[in-house]
């Protein structure tokens, strides 16, 4: 079973993820902010990371930049999920294996995005 890490500081959003990923064949771990996400990734190598962008402590884009510098996470696919426009984060495309999911999204949109990589 593939391991997913979702870094999302909004408990309600976490609830949507839980609902949408219920019954899917992934093992999902939740981190409630950037720092916790970073700690989680240091202890284990996940197959895919979903990042919220605007978070306290470490923002998603900052976290993403850190991941790409880490040898274990250089190639790990990342999905950035935010209510910001996709083009705001277009510049990250160059860092590879990253896609953008604009909130709100449906279960189908989320699954399609995950299946692109797993």
């Amino acid at each position: 079973m593939k391991d997913l890490l979702i870094v999302e500081d909004d408990p309600e959003m976490q609830e949507f993820y839980r609902d949408m990923l219920k019954g899917e064949q992934f093992s999902v771990t939740y981190a409630s902010d950037g720092e916790e996400g970073l700690k989680e990734m240091k202890g284990k190598k996940y197959d895919l990371v979903i990042l919220d962008i605007l978070m306290e402590n470490i923002t998603g884009d900052r976290l993403f930049a850190l991941l790409r510098k880490d040898k274990h996470y250089k190639e790990v696919p990342v999905i950035m999920a935010s209510s910001l426009d996709k083009q705001t984060y277009q510049c990250f495309q160059a860092l590879g294996k990253v896609s953008f999911l604009e909130k709100p999204f449906t279960k189908e949109m989320l699954i399609t995005e995950i299946n692109k990589y797993l």
């Binding site: 909004d10 949507f16 609902d19 935010s82 209510s83 999204f105």
Partner: protein, 549 residues
């Protein structure tokens, strides 16, 4: 006393051409002159351009220090000795000022001067038909040889009947040279003034003004560069082609590309090209560059232009951007979660399945419609704030216009068909635009969407026209039409002719902003209520890339 001395005469000629400061020349010349010609008073007067006044160019009086005529002052020509000299172009002798032949005689008489000799100064030289100070091309600017009277040299004596033909003969030998020297001085001073003016403009400009060769050697750069970038002008003059390394590493490639395009003639000019430079102290400075190539014999030999420091504007833009970003997030997040909750609700309670009650379905639809309406309003409000804050920049690219129009029609056709409307267009497939495609898409979706909204069982037509002022795109419908009041306010924010019709009322205000970002204009026309409407926007020709054949 009058003695003709050849040496003195040659000396005078030498003096005349020894310096471009005519007053300095005059001092030495008058000393020499006094050796051979008797005078108590000597003046050189010059005619002003309108011929009504004359200027006392130099005045020297042996009789008194305080003379009636003062250097640098202007006097009326009328009834003066000067007037007579100018009109007759011949020397004029006044034997006795007591007779008051000329208005000026009265004043000179009071100063003790009894006789006068006025001699015309005629300039025999070339006069440019088109006066251009630098780089004179004789083929373009024919030179004309012409005689022109520029003023007079005037002698005064305390004795009556002092001046005679002998004096006239002598003065006639030095007058042409004197005239030429004066005219050369005036021309030199004009060039000097023009040069000084030009230099002042360049040196006092807050922007960096520069000229450099195609291999990057600066031959002009003004002191502003030191204020803006911390490096002295000498740094630039000495640096040769290595100036590119001052640019921010991320921008160097783009700067080089843009400059090369200019040097290779692929672009006529650079406008508002923004890039970063690293200040001597290490901080980032944002510059906006405008430049054009320098041409010589149709060959590009360098570039010239100016750079404006836009660092403060960039910081403000960044601040505005982050504010807009935060507000966007705050407004969009709850709506996004509502939408997701509605979707979750639909899946959890199997809404839209056969078992759903009518009331449940109605409430569900009501929630969904209003959330989606709220979402649109928020998006529009954010769009207009971004446009109005001035942080929004055009993302220009070349695209085939008809493809964009087809895309818009394809997306809006289902709603148009629902209302019994047909959408047509007459866009030539050859039209390629140079504009912000995404914003043009919004613009067309808004105009065509509006046309659909206000038209039932009618036609909507999109047309394209090239005019002398640019190109025009019109969206014409056969719908409800607009009255004069609605035409006047159509592009106002939150203006809605019919408040009950859903919409934020800012779509056209956004459209207007988009058009204006492209330096264009937009307007509405209608034959009145029930007679359809036509919305047209015009972009300047620079946004029309080409018309492929």
């Amino acid at each position: 006393m009058f003695t003709y001395n050849k040496d003195t005469f040659l000396n005078i000629n030498k003096i005349i051409f020894s310096s471009l400061d005519i007053r300095e020349v005059y001092q030495t010349m008058s000393n020499e002159l006094s050796k051979i010609i008797d005078f108590d008073r000597l003046t050189i007067t010059l005619i002003t351009e309108d011929n009504n006044l004359y200027e006392a160019f130099v005045v020297q009086s042996k009789t008194r220090e305080d003379t009636y005529i003062k250097e640098g002052d202007l006097y009326p020509m009328k009834d003066s000795l000067m007037e007579k000299v100018v009109q007759s172009r011949k020397p004029v002798i006044v034997d006795d000022t007591a007779k008051s032949q000329f208005a000026t005689d009265v004043f000179l008489f009071k100063e003790g001067i009894r006789s006068r000799l006025g001699f015309p100064l005629v300039y025999k030289g070339c006069i440019m038909k088109h006066q251009k100070l630098f780089h004179i091309d004789e083929k373009k600017y024919p030179i004309e040889f012409k005689e022109r009277i520029i003023g007079s040299i005037n002698f005064g004596s305390r004795q009556k009947r002092h001046y005679s033909k002998k004096h006239v003969d002598f003065v006639s030998k030095i007058a042409p040279q004197l005239a030429m020297a004066i005219e050369n001085t005036r021309l030199f001073n004009r060039i000097k003034d023009a040069e000084e003016k030009y230099r002042n403009v360049v040196e006092s400009s807050p922007d960096i003004i520069f000229e450099c060769t195609s291999d990057g050697k600066f031959f002009l750069i003004n002191p502003s560069v030191e204020k803006i970038l911390g490096y002295s002008v000498h740094y630039f003059y000495d640096a040769g082609g290595s100036i590119l390394s001052l640019c921010h590493t991320d921008d160097q490639g783009q700067v080089l590309r843009e400059i090369l395009q200019l040097l290779h003639g692929e672009k006529d000019s650079l406008m508002d090209f923004e890039f970063r430079v690293v200040h001597k102290k290490g901080n980032i400075v944002w510059l906006s560059l405008e430049a054009i190539p320098i041409k010589q014999d149709n060959k590009i030999i360098g570039i010239e232009g100016f750079c404006r420091d836009i660092t403060d504007r960039k910081k403000l833009d960044e601040l505005k951007n982050s504010l807009i970003r935060d507000v966007t997030h705050e407004l969009k997040t709850p709506v996004a979660k509502m939408e997701m909750a509605i979707d979750m609700y639909r899946r959890s309670f199997a809404i839209e399945s056969e078992s759903t009650g009518e009331k449940e379905l109605h409430l569900y639809n009501l929630l969904q419609n209003n959330v989606s309406r709220l979402k649109n309003i928020i998006r529009n409000v954010l769009d207009i704030s971004r446009l109005e804050s001035g942080v929004e920049r055009l993302n220009i690219s070349d695209f085939t216009f008809v493809e964009l129009v087809d895309q818009v029609i394809h997306e809006l056709n289902p709603i148009a068909i629902q209302k019994g409307n047909t959408i047509t267009h007459q866009i030539p497939a050859t039209i390629i635009l140079k504009a912000d495609r995404e914003k043009m898409y919004y613009l067309l979706v808004n105009l065509v969407g509006n046309a659909i909204k206000f038209t039932s069982h009618g036609r909507i037509d999109i047309s394209f026209m090239i005019t002398p002022y640019g190109f025009e795109v019109s969206v014409k419908d056969t719908g409800k039409g607009l009255d004069d009041e609605a035409i006047k306010h159509a592009f106002d924010k939150f203006y809605k002719e019919t408040p009950s019709i859903p919409g934020s009322g800012i779509g056209l205000a956004i459209s207007k902003n988009i058009v204006e970002l492209h330096n264009g204009c937009i307007w509405a026309e209608s034959g009145g209520k029930g007679k359809g409407a036509k919305f047209t926007f015009r972009f300047p020709t620079c946004h029309l890339m080409k018309q492929a054949t």
